[in-house]
């Protein structure tokens, strides 16, 4: 039997496998610590504090980054009431829990992840579909509580079912979606034109 050279031997590759795995995993851990520090709500501008729902959110093209970035400016309290940090977090939390409890993700995507039967919700708060700022909250509240009754479908015939969403849950969902709309997603979805951009192009 010819001897197998070292670089083709079982022990060599065993060691290589262990080292490669360990180093990759270690790098992932380091990157995870860094990312977690940068995406906890309010720590940087990437993922805003929950109280961002008290503000006006829009997007503007940032030439140096070559993409649209969120701009948070001026007060625009949700449902006409400025909330404390705790109240804001509580409302967004109700929204996120409702989002999970109603299984929204198996029709929609958010941040582009989920199902493809209904539109992406990442920037739904800013979608021109809500006509303008004054109508938006009223339309959203009505829609979530009675989706089939307020369906638009745009000619697809697809309607959102009645999920038994209460008014409180609807308010929570809207807060959650408003907060989500302010996350800096590196330019996704591409070329998105907000409701404001549509108003004054």
């Amino acid at each position: 039997m010819n001897a197998t050279p070292l670089w083709a031997s079982e022990t060599f590759w065993k060691k290589t496998a262990i080292w490669v795995t360990a180093v990759s995993f270690l790098l992932l851990i380091v990157l995870t610590f860094d990312s977690m520090a940068k995406v906890s709500a309010g720590s940087t501008t990437r993922v805003p504090a929950y109280s961002v729902i008290n503000k006006k959110i829009d997007y503007r093209f940032n030439a140096s980054l070559n993409r649209y970035t969120p701009v948070v400016e001026g007060d625009a309290p949700l449902f006409g009431k400025i909330l404390s940090d705790e109240e804001a977090e509580k409302l967004v939390t109700l929204g996120k829990k409702t989002f999970q409890a109603k299984n929204c993700i198996n029709c929609h995507t958010v941040l582009g992840n989920g199902a493809y039967y209904a539109p992406d919700l990442t920037k739904s708060w800013l979608d021109p579909n809500w006509v303008d700022e004054t109508n938006r909250e009223i339309l959203m509240l009505a829609f979530l509580q009675d989706p089939p009754g307020n369906a638009r479908s745009y000619g697809t015939g697809r309607r959102m079912p009645d999920l038994g969403i209460t008014e409180d849950e609807a308010r929570g969902l809207i807060a959650f979606l408003k907060w989500t709309a302010a996350i800096d997603t590196n330019g996704f979805p591409h070329n998105f034109k907000t409701l404001y951009a549509q108003e004054n192009p």
């Binding site: 039997m1 010819n2 001897a3 197998t4 050279p5 670089w7 083709a8 980054l65 070559n66 330019g187 591409h190």
Partner: protein, 117 residues
């Protein structure tokens, strides 16, 4: 920073990506088969596959507007796809080196063939 693909380049972009992986496997496969079967024709097909891979990398890099880091990555891709199959083939031969002193085929299968003939 990235510069997204232009609308009119969509097809070229994804098609070249597919060509890279398929030609990569074609190159590796033809090379291995050519060596085993000692058929130089296959080795020529292997290099032709590599040429199509290289062209596809170029198209991908252009349509994806590669700059800086991404250009380096495309260069590494060219080198990696060239060298990896050769390395893997040598690895396969070296691993199997000890084997040919024994039976190449499992004994039971030989019996089976005899039974069937």
């Amino acid at each position: 920073m990235i510069e997204p693909v232009q609308l009119e380049d969509f097809f070229l972009n994804v098609f070249s990506a597919a060509v890279i992986v398929v030609s990569g496997a074609g190159y590796a496969g033809f090379y291995a088969w050519g060596k085993i079967a000692r058929r130089p024709g296959f080795v020529i097909s292997a290099y032709a596959s590599y040429a199509s891979l290289a062209a596809a990398v170029w198209v991908l890099a252009e349509t994806s507007h590669f700059e800086g880091f991404w250009r380096v990555a495309a260069g590494l891709m060219l080198i990696g796809y060239f060298a990896a199959p050769l390395a893997i083939f040598r690895l396969c031969t070296a691993m199997h080196a000890g084997e040919h002193s024994e039976h190449d085929r499992p004994i039971a299968n030989q019996q089976q063939e005899e039974e069937q003939s």
